[in-house]
Protein backbone atom coordinates (compact mmCIF):
# COMPACT_ATOMS: atom_id res chain seq x y z
CA UNK A 1 0.00 0.00 0.00
CA UNK A 2 2.86 2.35 0.62
CA UNK A 3 3.56 2.46 -3.08
CA UNK A 4 0.08 3.86 -3.63
CA UNK A 5 0.27 6.45 -0.90
CA UNK A 6 3.68 7.82 -1.77
CA UNK A 7 2.71 8.32 -5.38
CA UNK A 8 2.00 12.02 -6.11
CA UNK A 9 -1.68 12.80 -6.40
CA UNK A 10 -2.88 13.88 -9.83
CA UNK A 11 -4.01 17.46 -10.39
CA UNK A 12 -7.65 17.92 -9.32
CA UNK A 13 -8.67 19.14 -12.76
CA UNK A 14 -7.58 15.89 -14.27
CA UNK A 15 -9.60 13.87 -11.78
CA UNK A 16 -12.67 15.92 -12.46
CA UNK A 17 -12.37 15.52 -16.20
CA UNK A 18 -11.96 11.79 -15.84
CA UNK A 19 -15.08 11.22 -13.82
CA UNK A 20 -17.40 12.97 -16.25
CA UNK A 21 -18.20 10.35 -18.98
CA UNK A 22 -20.82 7.81 -17.99
CA UNK A 23 -19.23 4.62 -16.57
CA UNK A 24 -20.98 2.25 -19.00
CA UNK A 25 -19.82 4.25 -21.99
CA UNK A 26 -16.33 4.49 -20.58
CA UNK A 27 -16.19 0.78 -19.95
CA UNK A 28 -17.29 0.16 -23.53
CA UNK A 29 -14.65 2.56 -24.81
CA UNK A 30 -12.09 0.57 -22.86
CA UNK A 31 -13.48 -2.83 -23.76
CA UNK A 32 -13.46 -2.43 -27.53
CA UNK A 33 -9.74 -1.74 -28.02
CA UNK A 34 -8.93 -4.34 -25.36
CA UNK A 35 -10.89 -7.03 -27.16
CA UNK A 36 -9.50 -5.98 -30.52
CA UNK A 37 -5.99 -6.35 -29.10
CA UNK A 38 -6.97 -9.76 -27.74
CA UNK A 39 -8.19 -10.81 -31.18
CA UNK A 40 -4.91 -9.62 -32.64
CA UNK A 41 -2.87 -11.67 -30.15
CA UNK A 42 -5.09 -14.66 -30.78
CA UNK A 43 -4.66 -14.32 -34.55
CA UNK A 44 -0.87 -14.06 -34.40
CA UNK A 45 -0.49 -16.96 -32.00
CA UNK A 46 -2.87 -19.29 -33.81
CA UNK A 47 -2.20 -18.41 -37.45
CA UNK A 48 0.94 -20.49 -38.14
CA UNK A 49 -0.63 -23.67 -36.76
CA UNK A 50 -3.92 -22.83 -38.46
CA UNK A 51 -2.08 -22.35 -41.73
CA UNK A 52 -0.37 -25.69 -41.30
CA UNK A 53 -3.76 -27.38 -40.91
CA UNK A 54 -5.33 -25.46 -43.82
CA UNK A 55 -2.44 -26.38 -46.12
CA UNK A 56 -2.57 -30.00 -45.02
CA UNK A 57 -6.26 -30.22 -45.98
CA UNK A 58 -6.15 -28.12 -49.18
CA UNK A 59 -5.89 -30.01 -52.49
CA UNK A 60 -2.64 -29.49 -54.38
CA UNK A 61 -4.39 -27.34 -56.97
CA UNK A 62 -5.61 -25.02 -54.24
CA UNK A 63 -2.12 -24.62 -52.76
CA UNK A 64 -0.72 -23.80 -56.19
CA UNK A 65 -3.51 -21.36 -57.12
CA UNK A 66 -2.80 -17.67 -57.47
CA UNK A 67 -4.95 -16.56 -54.56
CA UNK A 68 -4.32 -18.35 -51.29
CA UNK A 69 -7.52 -19.71 -49.77
CA UNK A 70 -7.78 -19.16 -46.03
CA UNK A 71 -10.28 -21.97 -45.71
CA UNK A 72 -10.11 -25.27 -47.60
CA UNK A 73 -13.26 -25.20 -49.72
CA UNK A 74 -12.79 -28.81 -50.79
CA UNK A 75 -10.88 -30.46 -47.94
CA UNK A 76 -8.90 -33.53 -48.86
CA UNK A 77 -6.99 -36.21 -46.98
CA UNK A 78 -4.70 -36.83 -49.93
CA UNK A 79 -1.73 -35.10 -48.30
CA UNK A 80 -2.08 -37.21 -45.19
CA UNK A 81 -2.14 -40.29 -47.38
CA UNK A 82 1.07 -39.11 -49.07
CA UNK A 83 2.73 -38.39 -45.74
CA UNK A 84 1.78 -41.72 -44.20
CA UNK A 85 2.88 -43.60 -47.29
CA UNK A 86 6.21 -41.75 -47.43
CA UNK A 87 9.25 -43.97 -47.16
CA UNK A 88 9.79 -44.93 -43.54
CA UNK A 89 7.07 -42.80 -41.99
CA UNK A 90 5.72 -45.59 -39.81
CA UNK A 91 9.24 -46.72 -38.99
CA UNK A 92 10.23 -43.28 -37.71
CA UNK A 93 6.91 -42.95 -35.93
CA UNK A 94 7.60 -46.26 -34.16
CA UNK A 95 11.20 -45.21 -33.40
CA UNK A 96 10.04 -41.95 -31.85
CA UNK A 97 7.36 -43.70 -29.83
CA UNK A 98 9.71 -46.46 -28.65
CA UNK A 99 12.49 -44.06 -27.61
CA UNK A 100 10.08 -41.66 -25.90
CA UNK A 101 8.12 -44.34 -24.07
CA UNK A 102 11.17 -46.25 -22.82
CA UNK A 103 12.94 -43.06 -21.74
CA UNK A 104 9.91 -41.89 -19.77
CA UNK A 105 9.31 -45.30 -18.22
CA UNK A 106 12.95 -45.69 -17.22
CA UNK A 107 12.94 -42.19 -15.81
CA UNK A 108 9.87 -42.95 -13.67
CA UNK A 109 11.30 -46.24 -12.41
CA UNK A 110 14.54 -44.58 -11.35
CA UNK A 111 13.00 -41.33 -10.08
CA UNK A 112 10.30 -42.80 -7.88
CA UNK A 113 12.60 -44.50 -5.33
CA UNK A 114 14.93 -41.49 -5.36
CA UNK A 115 12.03 -39.10 -4.77
CA UNK A 116 10.83 -41.34 -1.95
CA UNK A 117 14.25 -41.32 -0.31
CA UNK A 118 14.44 -37.52 -0.50
CA UNK A 119 10.88 -36.85 0.62
CA UNK A 120 10.39 -39.49 3.30
CA UNK A 121 13.71 -40.65 4.68
CA UNK A 122 16.49 -38.91 6.54
CA UNK A 123 20.01 -39.95 5.76
CA UNK A 124 23.49 -38.59 5.52
CA UNK A 125 24.13 -37.15 2.09
CA UNK A 126 20.50 -36.35 1.42
CA UNK A 127 21.28 -32.67 1.01
CA UNK A 128 24.19 -33.37 -1.31
CA UNK A 129 21.97 -35.65 -3.38
CA UNK A 130 19.26 -32.99 -3.62
CA UNK A 131 21.86 -30.47 -4.73
CA UNK A 132 23.13 -32.89 -7.36
CA UNK A 133 19.62 -33.30 -8.76
CA UNK A 134 19.14 -29.55 -8.76
CA UNK A 135 22.38 -28.95 -10.62
CA UNK A 136 21.64 -31.81 -13.04
CA UNK A 137 18.39 -30.08 -13.86
CA UNK A 138 20.34 -27.13 -15.23
CA UNK A 139 22.72 -29.26 -17.28
CA UNK A 140 23.63 -27.49 -20.52
CA UNK A 141 22.66 -30.39 -22.78
CA UNK A 142 23.36 -28.49 -25.97
CA UNK A 143 27.00 -28.28 -24.92
CA UNK A 144 27.24 -32.06 -24.54
CA UNK A 145 26.57 -32.98 -28.16
CA UNK A 146 30.25 -33.51 -28.93
CA UNK A 147 31.27 -35.68 -25.94
CA UNK A 148 28.07 -37.71 -26.34
CA UNK A 149 28.96 -38.32 -29.96
CA UNK A 150 32.48 -39.37 -29.02
CA UNK A 151 31.27 -41.59 -26.16
CA UNK A 152 28.62 -43.19 -28.36
CA UNK A 153 31.24 -43.90 -30.97
CA UNK A 154 33.69 -45.35 -28.45
CA UNK A 155 31.10 -47.68 -26.97
CA UNK A 156 29.57 -48.77 -30.26
CA UNK A 157 26.32 -46.99 -29.40
CA UNK A 158 26.38 -44.64 -32.37
CA UNK A 159 23.32 -45.01 -34.62
CA UNK A 160 21.55 -46.89 -31.84
CA UNK A 161 18.14 -45.93 -30.53
CA UNK A 162 19.16 -47.20 -27.08
CA UNK A 163 21.76 -44.41 -26.87
CA UNK A 164 19.05 -41.82 -27.57
CA UNK A 165 16.85 -43.48 -24.96
CA UNK A 166 19.59 -43.14 -22.35
CA UNK A 167 20.17 -39.48 -23.20
CA UNK A 168 16.46 -38.66 -23.00
CA UNK A 169 16.19 -40.62 -19.77
CA UNK A 170 18.90 -38.47 -18.24
CA UNK A 171 17.36 -35.27 -19.66
CA UNK A 172 14.02 -35.97 -17.96
CA UNK A 173 15.27 -37.64 -14.77
CA UNK A 174 16.07 -34.57 -12.60
CA UNK A 175 12.78 -32.87 -13.41
CA UNK A 176 10.91 -36.10 -12.68
CA UNK A 177 12.60 -36.51 -9.28
CA UNK A 178 11.93 -32.90 -8.26
CA UNK A 179 8.28 -33.05 -9.29
CA UNK A 180 7.60 -36.46 -7.75
CA UNK A 181 9.29 -35.32 -4.54
CA UNK A 182 6.85 -32.41 -4.47
CA UNK A 183 3.86 -34.71 -4.95
CA UNK A 184 5.15 -37.14 -2.33
CA UNK A 185 5.73 -34.40 0.20
CA UNK A 186 2.09 -33.39 -0.20
CA UNK A 187 0.89 -36.85 0.89
CA UNK A 188 0.77 -37.02 4.71
CA UNK A 189 3.06 -39.76 6.07
CA UNK A 190 0.32 -40.52 8.61
CA UNK A 191 -1.57 -42.37 5.89
CA UNK A 192 1.25 -44.86 5.48
CA UNK A 193 1.66 -45.14 9.22
CA UNK A 194 -2.02 -45.94 9.60
CA UNK A 195 -1.71 -48.69 7.01
CA UNK A 196 1.36 -50.06 8.73
CA UNK A 197 -0.37 -50.01 12.11
CA UNK A 198 -3.04 -52.10 10.47
CA UNK A 199 -0.40 -54.65 9.68
CA UNK A 200 0.77 -53.72 6.21
CA UNK A 201 4.48 -53.80 5.49
CA UNK A 202 6.22 -50.67 4.31
CA UNK A 203 6.18 -51.85 0.71
CA UNK A 204 2.51 -52.76 0.88
CA UNK A 205 1.68 -49.43 2.52
CA UNK A 206 3.48 -47.63 -0.27
CA UNK A 207 1.79 -49.67 -2.98
CA UNK A 208 -1.73 -49.53 -1.53
CA UNK A 209 -1.78 -46.02 -0.05
CA UNK A 210 0.84 -43.78 -1.62
CA UNK A 211 0.93 -45.04 -5.17
CA UNK A 212 -2.76 -44.38 -5.92
CA UNK A 213 -2.46 -40.87 -4.47
CA UNK A 214 0.65 -40.35 -6.52
CA UNK A 215 -1.09 -41.23 -9.79
CA UNK A 216 -1.68 -37.62 -10.90
CA UNK A 217 1.95 -36.80 -10.21
CA UNK A 218 3.19 -39.81 -12.15
CA UNK A 219 0.81 -38.88 -14.94
CA UNK A 220 1.88 -35.27 -15.34
CA UNK A 221 5.62 -35.90 -14.97
CA UNK A 222 5.52 -38.65 -17.56
CA UNK A 223 3.54 -36.46 -19.93
CA UNK A 224 6.08 -33.64 -19.58
CA UNK A 225 8.84 -36.17 -20.14
CA UNK A 226 6.98 -37.41 -23.17
CA UNK A 227 6.89 -33.92 -24.69
CA UNK A 228 10.60 -33.37 -24.05
CA UNK A 229 11.68 -36.65 -25.62
CA UNK A 230 9.19 -36.60 -28.49
CA UNK A 231 10.35 -33.13 -29.59
CA UNK A 232 14.09 -33.58 -29.11
CA UNK A 233 16.12 -32.82 -32.19
CA UNK A 234 19.77 -31.99 -31.42
CA UNK A 235 20.86 -35.39 -30.09
CA UNK A 236 18.71 -37.35 -32.52
CA UNK A 237 20.42 -35.35 -35.25
CA UNK A 238 23.94 -35.84 -33.89
CA UNK A 239 23.83 -39.45 -32.71
CA UNK A 240 21.93 -41.15 -35.56
CA UNK A 241 24.01 -40.58 -38.65
CA UNK A 242 24.64 -43.59 -40.83
CA UNK A 243 21.75 -45.85 -39.98
CA UNK A 244 18.89 -43.86 -41.48
CA UNK A 245 16.35 -46.45 -40.35
CA UNK A 246 16.95 -45.46 -36.74
CA UNK A 247 16.02 -41.82 -37.21
CA UNK A 248 13.20 -40.26 -35.20
CA UNK A 249 10.35 -38.11 -36.46
CA UNK A 250 11.89 -34.67 -35.73
CA UNK A 251 15.03 -35.46 -37.72
CA UNK A 252 12.98 -36.97 -40.52
CA UNK A 253 10.76 -33.88 -40.57
CA UNK A 254 13.78 -31.59 -40.69
CA UNK A 255 14.75 -33.19 -43.98
CA UNK A 256 11.29 -32.78 -45.47
CA UNK A 257 12.70 -31.28 -48.65
CA UNK A 258 14.44 -34.60 -49.40
CA UNK A 259 11.28 -36.53 -48.68
CA UNK A 260 8.52 -34.43 -50.17
CA UNK A 261 10.42 -32.04 -52.44
CA UNK A 262 8.13 -29.06 -52.93
CA UNK A 263 4.99 -30.92 -51.91
CA UNK A 264 4.04 -28.51 -49.13
CA UNK A 265 0.65 -30.13 -48.59
CA UNK A 266 2.30 -33.43 -47.64
CA UNK A 267 4.96 -31.62 -45.59
CA UNK A 268 2.30 -29.84 -43.55
CA UNK A 269 0.34 -33.08 -43.18
CA UNK A 270 3.49 -34.74 -41.82
CA UNK A 271 4.06 -31.82 -39.42
CA UNK A 272 0.44 -32.13 -38.26
CA UNK A 273 0.83 -35.85 -37.61
CA UNK A 274 4.02 -35.14 -35.67
CA UNK A 275 2.30 -32.46 -33.60
CA UNK A 276 -0.90 -34.38 -32.89
CA UNK A 277 0.34 -36.52 -29.94
CA UNK A 278 1.87 -33.46 -28.26
CA UNK A 279 -1.39 -31.59 -28.66
CA UNK A 280 -3.31 -34.46 -27.09
CA UNK A 281 -0.86 -34.51 -24.18
CA UNK A 282 -1.29 -30.77 -23.69
CA UNK A 283 -5.06 -31.19 -23.69
CA UNK A 284 -4.72 -33.91 -21.05
CA UNK A 285 -2.50 -31.61 -19.01
CA UNK A 286 -4.62 -28.49 -19.57
CA UNK A 287 -5.13 -27.62 -15.94
CA UNK A 288 -1.67 -28.57 -14.82
CA UNK A 289 0.19 -26.76 -17.57
CA UNK A 290 0.27 -23.35 -15.95
CA UNK A 291 0.32 -24.19 -12.26
CA UNK A 292 2.57 -27.22 -12.66
CA UNK A 293 5.14 -25.50 -14.79
CA UNK A 294 5.22 -22.46 -12.58
CA UNK A 295 5.82 -24.39 -9.41
CA UNK A 296 8.32 -26.48 -11.35
CA UNK A 297 10.05 -23.35 -12.58
CA UNK A 298 10.06 -21.53 -9.27
CA UNK A 299 11.24 -24.55 -7.40
CA UNK A 300 13.93 -25.01 -10.00
Amino acid sequence: MTAVETRPRPAPALTAKRSRPRPALRRLARRVPLNLAALGVLAVSVFPVYWMAVTAFTPAAGIQSDTPAFWPAHPTLAHFATAVRADGFWLFWRNSLAVTASAVLLSLLVALPAAFAVARLRWRGRRAFALMVFVAQMAPWEALLIPMFVIARDTGMLDRLSMLTLVYFMCTLPFTIVTLRGFLAAIPPELEEAAMTDGAGRAAAFRLVVLPLLAPGLMSTSLFGFITAWNEFAFANALIIKNQDDRTLPVWLSSFANVFGTDWGATMAAASLFMLPVLLVFLALQRRVTSGLISGAVKG
Binding site: V4, P48, W51, I146, M148
Partner: protein, 306 residues
Protein backbone atom coordinates in the same frame (compact mmCIF):
# COMPACT_ATOMS: atom_id res chain seq x y z
CA UNK B 1 18.21 -30.69 7.81
CA UNK B 2 16.81 -28.42 10.45
CA UNK B 3 14.47 -26.89 7.87
CA UNK B 4 12.28 -29.98 7.92
CA UNK B 5 9.30 -29.29 10.16
CA UNK B 6 9.63 -32.66 11.82
CA UNK B 7 11.54 -35.84 11.21
CA UNK B 8 9.78 -38.54 9.28
CA UNK B 9 8.38 -40.71 12.02
CA UNK B 10 9.65 -43.96 10.60
CA UNK B 11 13.23 -43.78 9.55
CA UNK B 12 14.64 -46.54 7.49
CA UNK B 13 18.02 -46.87 8.98
CA UNK B 14 21.00 -48.21 7.20
CA UNK B 15 21.47 -48.83 3.54
CA UNK B 16 17.95 -48.40 2.21
CA UNK B 17 18.11 -44.73 1.20
CA UNK B 18 21.37 -45.33 -0.60
CA UNK B 19 19.94 -48.26 -2.52
CA UNK B 20 16.96 -46.13 -3.50
CA UNK B 21 19.06 -43.31 -4.92
CA UNK B 22 21.79 -45.55 -6.37
CA UNK B 23 20.26 -45.79 -9.89
CA UNK B 24 19.92 -42.00 -10.04
CA UNK B 25 23.49 -41.47 -8.89
CA UNK B 26 24.77 -44.06 -11.37
CA UNK B 27 22.77 -42.54 -14.23
CA UNK B 28 23.97 -39.04 -13.41
CA UNK B 29 27.55 -40.20 -13.12
CA UNK B 30 27.65 -42.08 -16.42
CA UNK B 31 25.29 -40.00 -18.55
CA UNK B 32 25.95 -36.51 -17.27
CA UNK B 33 29.10 -36.18 -15.20
CA UNK B 34 31.18 -38.39 -17.47
CA UNK B 35 30.16 -36.53 -20.68
CA UNK B 36 30.90 -33.20 -18.98
CA UNK B 37 34.34 -34.38 -17.89
CA UNK B 38 34.96 -36.00 -21.26
CA UNK B 39 34.10 -32.71 -22.95
CA UNK B 40 36.63 -30.87 -20.82
CA UNK B 41 39.25 -33.57 -21.46
CA UNK B 42 38.68 -33.49 -25.24
CA UNK B 43 39.03 -29.72 -25.16
CA UNK B 44 42.60 -30.04 -23.84
CA UNK B 45 43.57 -32.79 -26.30
CA UNK B 46 44.42 -32.99 -29.95
CA UNK B 47 41.24 -34.80 -30.97
CA UNK B 48 40.43 -35.00 -34.69
CA UNK B 49 39.14 -37.79 -36.94
CA UNK B 50 42.28 -39.88 -36.44
CA UNK B 51 42.00 -39.80 -32.65
CA UNK B 52 38.28 -40.49 -32.90
CA UNK B 53 38.95 -43.72 -34.78
CA UNK B 54 42.24 -44.88 -33.29
CA UNK B 55 42.18 -43.21 -29.90
CA UNK B 56 45.38 -42.10 -28.20
CA UNK B 57 44.69 -38.38 -28.22
CA UNK B 58 47.62 -36.29 -27.02
CA UNK B 59 47.36 -33.68 -24.28
CA UNK B 60 47.91 -30.21 -25.73
CA UNK B 61 47.04 -27.99 -22.79
CA UNK B 62 45.08 -24.87 -23.60
CA UNK B 63 46.02 -24.88 -27.28
CA UNK B 64 42.41 -25.31 -28.45
CA UNK B 65 41.27 -22.47 -26.23
CA UNK B 66 44.06 -20.29 -27.61
CA UNK B 67 42.95 -21.32 -31.09
CA UNK B 68 39.35 -20.38 -30.40
CA UNK B 69 40.02 -17.16 -28.50
CA UNK B 70 42.79 -16.08 -30.86
CA UNK B 71 40.78 -16.12 -34.06
CA UNK B 72 38.42 -13.32 -35.10
CA UNK B 73 35.65 -15.80 -35.94
CA UNK B 74 35.00 -16.82 -32.35
CA UNK B 75 34.52 -13.24 -31.18
CA UNK B 76 32.26 -12.56 -34.12
CA UNK B 77 30.15 -15.53 -33.08
CA UNK B 78 30.14 -14.37 -29.45
CA UNK B 79 28.96 -10.93 -30.53
CA UNK B 80 26.27 -12.46 -32.70
CA UNK B 81 25.15 -14.74 -29.86
CA UNK B 82 24.77 -11.75 -27.53
CA UNK B 83 22.85 -9.82 -30.17
CA UNK B 84 20.66 -12.87 -30.85
CA UNK B 85 19.96 -13.30 -27.13
CA UNK B 86 19.32 -9.61 -26.50
CA UNK B 87 16.98 -9.11 -29.45
CA UNK B 88 14.98 -12.23 -28.65
CA UNK B 89 14.70 -11.73 -24.90
CA UNK B 90 13.82 -8.02 -25.19
CA UNK B 91 11.13 -8.79 -27.76
CA UNK B 92 9.79 -11.72 -25.73
CA UNK B 93 9.46 -9.63 -22.55
CA UNK B 94 8.18 -6.55 -24.42
CA UNK B 95 5.42 -8.63 -26.00
CA UNK B 96 4.65 -11.02 -23.14
CA UNK B 97 4.17 -8.28 -20.52
CA UNK B 98 1.38 -6.37 -22.34
CA UNK B 99 -0.19 -9.67 -23.41
CA UNK B 100 -0.29 -10.81 -19.76
CA UNK B 101 -1.69 -7.45 -18.58
CA UNK B 102 -4.27 -7.56 -21.36
CA UNK B 103 -5.27 -11.15 -20.56
CA UNK B 104 -5.87 -10.22 -16.92
CA UNK B 105 -8.37 -7.54 -17.99
CA UNK B 106 -10.31 -9.62 -20.50
CA UNK B 107 -13.75 -11.08 -20.00
CA UNK B 108 -14.01 -14.75 -19.19
CA UNK B 109 -14.64 -16.04 -22.70
CA UNK B 110 -12.10 -13.88 -24.46
CA UNK B 111 -9.50 -14.77 -21.85
CA UNK B 112 -10.14 -18.47 -22.39
CA UNK B 113 -9.76 -17.94 -26.16
CA UNK B 114 -6.45 -16.07 -25.79
CA UNK B 115 -5.10 -18.60 -23.29
CA UNK B 116 -6.05 -21.49 -25.57
CA UNK B 117 -4.28 -19.77 -28.46
CA UNK B 118 -1.15 -19.27 -26.36
CA UNK B 119 -1.19 -22.87 -25.16
CA UNK B 120 -1.57 -24.07 -28.76
CA UNK B 121 1.52 -22.08 -29.75
CA UNK B 122 3.38 -23.39 -26.73
CA UNK B 123 2.41 -26.96 -27.55
CA UNK B 124 3.73 -26.72 -31.10
CA UNK B 125 6.87 -28.90 -31.28
CA UNK B 126 10.00 -27.03 -32.29
CA UNK B 127 10.46 -29.06 -35.45
CA UNK B 128 6.83 -28.63 -36.48
CA UNK B 129 7.25 -24.86 -35.96
CA UNK B 130 10.45 -24.65 -38.02
CA UNK B 131 8.74 -26.53 -40.84
CA UNK B 132 5.69 -24.26 -40.66
CA UNK B 133 7.80 -21.09 -40.73
CA UNK B 134 9.73 -22.34 -43.73
CA UNK B 135 6.37 -22.79 -45.45
CA UNK B 136 5.05 -19.37 -44.34
CA UNK B 137 8.14 -17.66 -45.78
CA UNK B 138 8.49 -19.87 -48.83
CA UNK B 139 9.40 -17.80 -51.88
CA UNK B 140 6.77 -18.63 -54.49
CA UNK B 141 3.76 -20.00 -52.63
CA UNK B 142 4.46 -18.76 -49.10
CA UNK B 143 1.57 -16.87 -47.55
CA UNK B 144 3.79 -14.02 -46.29
CA UNK B 145 5.05 -13.07 -49.75
CA UNK B 146 1.56 -13.36 -51.18
CA UNK B 147 0.09 -11.11 -48.52
CA UNK B 148 2.89 -8.57 -49.00
CA UNK B 149 2.29 -8.54 -52.75
CA UNK B 150 -1.46 -8.16 -52.21
CA UNK B 151 -0.77 -5.25 -49.86
CA UNK B 152 1.11 -3.52 -52.68
CA UNK B 153 4.71 -4.54 -51.96
CA UNK B 154 5.26 -5.99 -55.43
CA UNK B 155 8.99 -6.43 -54.84
CA UNK B 156 8.26 -9.38 -52.53
CA UNK B 157 6.97 -11.49 -55.41
CA UNK B 158 9.07 -14.69 -55.24
CA UNK B 159 11.33 -13.03 -52.67
CA UNK B 160 13.73 -15.62 -51.25
CA UNK B 161 13.86 -14.89 -47.52
CA UNK B 162 16.34 -17.60 -46.65
CA UNK B 163 18.93 -16.36 -49.14
CA UNK B 164 19.79 -13.27 -47.09
CA UNK B 165 21.63 -13.37 -43.78
CA UNK B 166 19.65 -10.57 -42.16
CA UNK B 167 16.27 -11.88 -43.26
CA UNK B 168 17.08 -15.43 -42.13
CA UNK B 169 18.17 -14.02 -38.77
CA UNK B 170 14.93 -12.02 -38.58
CA UNK B 171 12.76 -15.06 -39.38
CA UNK B 172 14.56 -17.09 -36.72
CA UNK B 173 13.93 -14.27 -34.23
CA UNK B 174 10.27 -14.21 -35.22
CA UNK B 175 10.09 -17.98 -34.76
CA UNK B 176 11.78 -18.05 -31.35
CA UNK B 177 9.78 -15.06 -30.08
CA UNK B 178 6.54 -16.62 -31.33
CA UNK B 179 7.38 -19.85 -29.53
CA UNK B 180 8.62 -18.24 -26.31
CA UNK B 181 5.99 -15.57 -25.64
CA UNK B 182 3.32 -18.05 -24.45
CA UNK B 183 5.39 -19.36 -21.53
CA UNK B 184 6.37 -15.85 -20.44
CA UNK B 185 2.88 -14.42 -20.90
CA UNK B 186 1.03 -17.26 -19.17
CA UNK B 187 3.48 -17.30 -16.25
CA UNK B 188 3.23 -13.51 -15.86
CA UNK B 189 -0.54 -13.71 -16.09
CA UNK B 190 -0.57 -16.36 -13.36
CA UNK B 191 1.59 -14.00 -11.27
CA UNK B 192 -0.79 -11.10 -11.93
CA UNK B 193 -3.74 -13.07 -10.61
CA UNK B 194 -2.00 -13.35 -7.23
CA UNK B 195 -2.01 -9.57 -6.76
CA UNK B 196 -5.05 -8.58 -4.72
CA UNK B 197 -7.49 -6.57 -6.82
CA UNK B 198 -7.96 -4.05 -3.99
CA UNK B 199 -4.46 -2.69 -4.49
CA UNK B 200 -5.17 -1.68 -8.04
CA UNK B 201 -8.66 -0.44 -7.24
CA UNK B 202 -7.52 1.87 -4.51
CA UNK B 203 -4.77 3.20 -6.77
CA UNK B 204 -7.31 3.79 -9.49
CA UNK B 205 -9.59 5.64 -7.08
CA UNK B 206 -6.60 7.79 -6.24
CA UNK B 207 -6.47 8.58 -9.94
CA UNK B 208 -3.39 6.60 -10.92
CA UNK B 209 -3.06 5.86 -14.61
CA UNK B 210 -2.51 2.38 -15.98
CA UNK B 211 1.17 3.04 -16.55
CA UNK B 212 1.61 4.37 -13.00
CA UNK B 213 -0.13 1.34 -11.54
CA UNK B 214 2.16 -0.94 -13.50
CA UNK B 215 5.29 0.95 -12.51
CA UNK B 216 4.49 1.46 -8.84
CA UNK B 217 2.44 -1.61 -7.92
CA UNK B 218 2.41 -4.45 -10.41
CA UNK B 219 6.05 -4.45 -11.40
CA UNK B 220 7.55 -4.16 -7.89
CA UNK B 221 5.37 -7.03 -6.65
CA UNK B 222 6.21 -9.24 -9.61
CA UNK B 223 9.87 -8.26 -9.82
CA UNK B 224 11.12 -11.73 -8.75
CA UNK B 225 8.88 -13.36 -11.34
CA UNK B 226 10.11 -10.98 -14.04
CA UNK B 227 13.67 -11.81 -13.03
CA UNK B 228 13.01 -15.52 -13.15
CA UNK B 229 11.31 -15.45 -16.54
CA UNK B 230 13.97 -13.20 -18.05
CA UNK B 231 16.73 -15.49 -16.79
CA UNK B 232 15.01 -18.59 -18.13
CA UNK B 233 14.50 -16.94 -21.51
CA UNK B 234 18.15 -15.86 -21.60
CA UNK B 235 19.20 -19.47 -20.97
CA UNK B 236 16.84 -20.89 -23.57
CA UNK B 237 17.61 -18.35 -26.28
CA UNK B 238 21.36 -18.35 -25.67
CA UNK B 239 21.69 -22.11 -26.08
CA UNK B 240 19.00 -22.41 -28.74
CA UNK B 241 20.16 -24.94 -31.32
CA UNK B 242 17.36 -26.94 -32.93
CA UNK B 243 15.55 -24.01 -34.57
CA UNK B 244 18.72 -22.58 -36.09
CA UNK B 245 20.11 -25.91 -37.23
CA UNK B 246 16.82 -27.06 -38.77
CA UNK B 247 16.26 -23.84 -40.70
CA UNK B 248 19.66 -22.50 -41.69
CA UNK B 249 22.42 -24.68 -40.14
CA UNK B 250 24.02 -21.37 -39.15
CA UNK B 251 23.96 -19.94 -42.65
CA UNK B 252 23.71 -18.25 -45.02
CA UNK B 253 27.38 -17.25 -44.78
CA UNK B 254 27.39 -17.79 -41.04
CA UNK B 255 24.81 -15.05 -40.47
CA UNK B 256 22.92 -17.18 -37.95
CA UNK B 257 25.86 -19.02 -36.39
CA UNK B 258 25.53 -18.64 -32.63
CA UNK B 259 27.85 -20.31 -30.13
CA UNK B 260 26.05 -23.69 -29.82
CA UNK B 261 25.72 -23.90 -33.62
CA UNK B 262 29.36 -22.90 -34.06
CA UNK B 263 30.59 -25.56 -31.64
CA UNK B 264 28.61 -28.26 -33.42
CA UNK B 265 29.73 -27.06 -36.88
CA UNK B 266 33.38 -27.09 -35.90
CA UNK B 267 33.07 -30.63 -34.54
CA UNK B 268 30.72 -32.15 -37.06
CA UNK B 269 31.70 -30.54 -40.34
CA UNK B 270 35.37 -29.78 -39.73
CA UNK B 271 35.90 -32.84 -37.50
CA UNK B 272 37.74 -30.63 -35.00
CA UNK B 273 36.16 -32.27 -31.96
CA UNK B 274 38.81 -30.69 -29.75
CA UNK B 275 38.04 -27.15 -30.87
CA UNK B 276 34.29 -27.83 -30.74
CA UNK B 277 34.59 -29.07 -27.16
CA UNK B 278 36.60 -25.98 -26.23
CA UNK B 279 33.92 -23.72 -27.74
CA UNK B 280 31.22 -25.68 -25.85
CA UNK B 281 33.06 -25.20 -22.58
CA UNK B 282 33.49 -21.49 -23.27
CA UNK B 283 29.78 -21.25 -24.13
CA UNK B 284 28.80 -22.68 -20.77
CA UNK B 285 31.29 -20.42 -18.95
CA UNK B 286 29.92 -17.33 -20.72
CA UNK B 287 26.33 -18.31 -19.90
CA UNK B 288 27.22 -18.93 -16.26
CA UNK B 289 29.01 -15.58 -16.08
CA UNK B 290 25.98 -13.81 -17.54
CA UNK B 291 23.59 -15.47 -15.10
CA UNK B 292 25.79 -15.73 -12.01
CA UNK B 293 23.62 -13.52 -9.80
CA UNK B 294 20.48 -15.34 -10.87
CA UNK B 295 22.07 -18.74 -10.27
CA UNK B 296 23.26 -17.70 -6.82
CA UNK B 297 19.75 -16.63 -5.89
CA UNK B 298 18.23 -19.84 -7.27
CA UNK B 299 20.72 -21.95 -5.35
CA UNK B 300 19.93 -20.13 -2.12
CA UNK B 301 16.23 -20.54 -2.75
CA UNK B 302 16.67 -24.22 -3.53
CA UNK B 303 18.65 -24.67 -0.34
CA UNK B 304 15.64 -23.47 1.60
CA UNK B 305 13.31 -25.89 -0.10
CA UNK B 306 15.36 -29.02 0.13
Amino acid sequence: MSVLPRPSPRRLAGLWPYLLVAPTVAGTAFLLLYPVLRSVVISVQHFRTGELIRGGAAFVGLENYQDALGGPEFWQVVGRTFAWTAVNVVLIMAIATPVALMTARLGRRMRLAVMSGLVLTWATPVLAATTIFQWLFQSRLGVVNRLLVTLGFGSFEDHIWFAGGASTFAILVALVVWQSVPFAAITLYAGLTTIPAELEESARIDGASGAQIFRDITFPILRPLFGLITSLEVIWVFKCFAQIWAISKGGPDGATTTLPVYAFQVAQSLHKYDLGAAVSTLTVLILVAVLITHLRRMLKHEGEIL
